[in-house]
Symmetry: C2
Subunit: 244 residues, 2 copies
DNA sequence: CGAACCCTTGATGGCGATCAAACGCCGTGG
DNA sequence: CCACGGCGTTTGATCGCCATCAAGGGTTCG
């Protein structure tokens, strides 16, 4: 099976997983606890591919022939409605994507594009489904990842339904800070227009929302965010203790 | 283990699963293909409970001790933000709910209440997790249900981000019609205010949206919906071929 | 019969989208 | 090296969708 044919183009960055690369991939959460023999058989049938930035990996509606696992780089999952489109998830290294489609053998509900140069492991979906049934650890890991993705979607939907845009931004920033161990200063990954789309707003309003948060303990300089008054920030954002 | 203690109240409708009820439950999609011995051991440890309508089953943040499976009735999953709340999912008979929380052993992200008198099977979460690892069919069924729930969430989120309220209503009605085999006339389940909350709008605007759809081939009489001009309806709603 | 409660309809206001223009940054090409 | 053009961001002005507030009609239930 050729990935080039699957993608409809030829890239010289396509190759089978090399032996020296396997340990790095094997440490990913989804594979780390599984049986070594089965893991090797998955790796032998998988392909590690490097993609340039801004490349569309697949479109909505295609069949999910491969589970995608982002080894490094950055990937955006997005959907469109004809005229308008919106980004749904930002995939960070070490995470799989379109797991639900690969497991149920159904068409993608989201399209994917690389935001930066990315290396992606492509695991044939039928092999994944077979191996899941033979290996309890892989099974658990897959289930957990899927459950986690589900919870992220629940959170994004409640965010969209219950909060207005500036509150969404505030909570997003607090969450980013928390994920970096409570850092008061950090960098946004990617352009602001991407963040705007992720939060369900326009770039113009994101800009205004950043301005409004200056009153609540946030300073912005380009892509670097500083939380100057965490108390004020939390008072404005009212993060949910179970979600955020 | 007492469900009454778990719920913090005593109801005379609590009992272990009776032998004559097992065949009915065993036909549910999640159990239908699994090993009979394991299924019986699950049933022996589970409880079938009847709840009156408008009862809150659990709140956000509680630990997921049981997987819930709705045998009959109607259940709403909802979240709140302190002052405001919104309904996230309507659970119909034959489906499990809070599967993600039960599998990952994490707190509920959504609360649940019965919309009508409901019978619910309560499966201890640890037993579920153990049995999933022993039974491939249950494993597959669980994974599929979880993946399906995920896809429903993706759909709801894109709906909220890309469409305005009247379009969401129109597509919801078309989808209901499709799920009933293309019926041109059907009944809404539950009150309209519930539908409004599910679609992320106020009851007032839902009413106005129904009025606006009169121009596009919809007639409403109480809870009965008639699609009088399907072409016009689809022209207005522009359903996505992969989502809707 | 009255009291809730839901649904509807109208009036008003606010949040956020759209349109428009200017600024800064960075690439290329003269 | 500088001029130019493209693109992302910012800021301002305006418009539209939708929430809110308010009131009236219908139904259900005590």
């Amino acid at each position: 099976m050729s990935i080039s044919r699957y993608l409809g183009l030829t890239l010289n960055t396509e190759y089978d997983l090399r032996p020296e690369e396997r340990p790095e991939i094997a440490r990913l959460p989804i594979f780390s606890d599984m049986d070594e023999t089965l893991r090797d058989s998955i790796f032998s049938a998988s392909l590690l591919q490097a993609f340039p930035r801004q490349l569309v990996l697949f479109e909505v509606g295609q069949r999910a022939d491969f589970l995608h696992i982002l080894v490094d780089g950055l990937v955006e999952l997005f959907t469109s409605n004809g005229d308008r489109d919106t980004s749904m998830v930002i995939v960070t290294p070490g995470h799989s994507f379109i797991l639900a489609a690969a497991i149920t053998d159904m068409p993608y509900l989201m399209a994917a594009r690389t935001l930066s140069t990315s290396r992606i492991l492509l695991v044939p979906a039928p092999l994944l489904r077979d191996t899941i049934e033979q290996d309890g650890a892989l099974n658990r890991a897959t289930m957990h990842e899927l459950a986690w993705d589900y919870r992220e979607m629940v959170r994004a939907l409640t965010d969209m339904k219950l909060r207005q845009s500036t509150e969404r931004l505030a909570n997003h920033l607090l969450l980013q800070s928390r994920r970096l161990g409570g850092a008061d200063c950090f960098q946004l990954r990617g352009e602001k227009r991407l963040l705007a789309s992720l939060l369900g707003m326009t770039p113009e309003n994101l800009s205004r929302a950043f301005g409004a948060l200056a009153q609540h303990g946030i300073r912005v300089d380009g892509l670097t965010i500083s939380i100057t008054d965490r108390k004020a920030m939390e008072g404005f954002a009212r993060p949910d203790p179970f979600f955020d």
